[in-house]
């Protein structure tokens, strides 16, 4: 069975869409998967925005991950939960989509994205425009069958302490993975939200060792992906304590390919238990 619209698709119904302006979607997290990382909740908000923006440009372009100024993790999403995805778009044209959005479980927000910007690429370079248009229509009309997603394979990484409050490491983008069949069929690239998840794991030891804790990850800021990550690419990771200010702290985490910075983000911490 094809992985397209299965292995890395997190909107299974569009409840309303003012194309390029506002969209409300829904995603039922499959019961049978072990866990659903918060980074994938963020991905579902982004995919909802993508649907509306692609419809706005007649499926000639599609957005890819770029910038998320603020990502807040304010709750939990578990297997079996239904995410309601509300997104407002301030821009959707051939160059970029700009949006903010919230994922709800019941009446509680679990994740918020603010001031996100995704550059548009030519759809036909990455995916089949006809198939994507058909998928959009299916989501609007009757919705897709839930439970298509079977989880993602974890990606191994190396991490060593460089100095107090600083770690470095590396990882290789998998050569093969089911999600490449969906992200994207014509040009497989490692999803930015999986890199986000990997970064959170990479800095876990820094968080445990950070003075004044225990600290809880409450989100990420200034998240930026600057270049595509094809299968098999080796990337270096670095993380260092950025700021400790009373009840809040942040860790700057970056990835590099050689000398070029490929991505960056600040992991935001608070002294509280979610």
């Amino acid at each position: 069975m094809s992985d397209h619209f299965r292995a890395f698709s997190f909107v299974d119904r569009i409840l309303s869409d003012k194309q390029g302006k506002a969209i409300v979607g829904q995603y039922q997290i499959p019961d049978l998967i072990r866990k659903f990382p918060m980074s994938l909740v963020a991905e579902s908000i982004g995919q909802c925005a993508a649907m509306s923006s692609m419809a706005a440009v007649n499926f000639k372009h599609r957005p890819v991950a770029g910038i998320a100024s603020v990502v807040e993790f304010c709750g939990c999403a578990r297997p079996g939960d239904i995410l309601k995805l509300e997104v407002s778009l301030t821009r959707a044209d051939e160059e970029a989509v700009a949006y903010s959005g919230v994922a709800w479980v019941g009446d509680k927000p679990v994740a918020k994205l603010s001031n996100c910007l995704g550059p548009m690429v030519l759809m036909e370079d990455f995916d089949n425009p006809v198939a994507v248009r058909k998928r959009y229509q299916l989501l609007v009309d009757s919705g897709a069958e839930p439970d298509a997603f079977g989880g993602v394979e974890s990606v191994d990484f190396e991490s060593v302490e460089k100095s107090d409050g600083e770690r470095e490491g590396q990882f290789t983008v998998p050569h093969e993975a089911a999600f490449f069949g969906d992200h994207f069929p014509r040009r497989p690239v490692f999803p930015g939200t999986l890199l986000m998840d990997l970064k959170l794991k990479f800095v876990a030891d820094l968080i445990v060792d950070l003075e004044g804790g225990p600290w809880t990850v409450v989100g990420m800021q200034d998240v930026k992906l600057r270049s595509f990550m094809p299968p098999g690419e080796l990337l270096e990771l670095s993380g260092k304590v950025d700021k400790i200010d009373g009840e809040q702290a942040s860790i700057l985490v970056q990835s590099r390919k050689g000398k070029r910075r490929n991505s960056s983000a600040r992991v935001m911490l608070e002294k509280k238990i979610l």
Binding site: G66, I67, D93, E94, E95, A96, A98, N115, L117, P119, D222, K224, L225, R226, S227, Q254, R260, R261, S264
Partner: protein, 136 residues
């Protein structure tokens, strides 16, 4: 609409623009100079240009339309008069040198590939984009 931009107008917004460029590129503000080429000196990628324009629009409450800089640089020249086969024409080159007057002439290659034009953009170029929109 006056398109003349004074140094005082640029100086007035430069600190904010430099801060935005530094934030977007994740570098120290000290590294950002008025004549820094964002691509050659500060390692900017195309996503960074989008980011910077997005931040400038929010900070200065202006709208910088897509392709605005290239359109303004071209002036009254048609696309064919401005570039042929990916190379900027002599007339186009003269327009570029006028539009990007802040850039030392020796940085502008001759012949100049049109795809290389963004490499010329400096922090001051972005200041001028904002001032133009503020005045427009």
């Amino acid at each position: 609409m006056s398109t003349e931009i004074s140094q005082a107008e640029i100086d007035a917004i430069y600190p904010q623009v430099a801060e935005i460029v530094a934030d977007a590129l994740g570098c120290d503000e000290d590294e950002v100079k008025p004549d820094s080429s964002l691509i050659n000196d500060l390692d900017a990628e195309s996503i960074d240009f989008l980011d910077i324009v997005f931040r400038l629009e929010q900070e200065f409450k202006v709208k910088i339309p897509r392709g605005k800089a290239m359109e303004e640089a071209r002036g009254e020249l048609s696309e064919e008069e401005f570039e042929q086969g990916g190379i900027v024409t002599d007339a186009g080159l003269a327009k570029i040198k006028t539009y990007l007057a802040e850039i030392p002439a020796d940085r502008i290659a001759d012949p100049l590939k049109s795809a290389e034009i963004p490499k010329l953009f400096t922090t001051e170029t972005f200041c001028k984009m904002v001032v133009r929109e503020q005045k427009g």
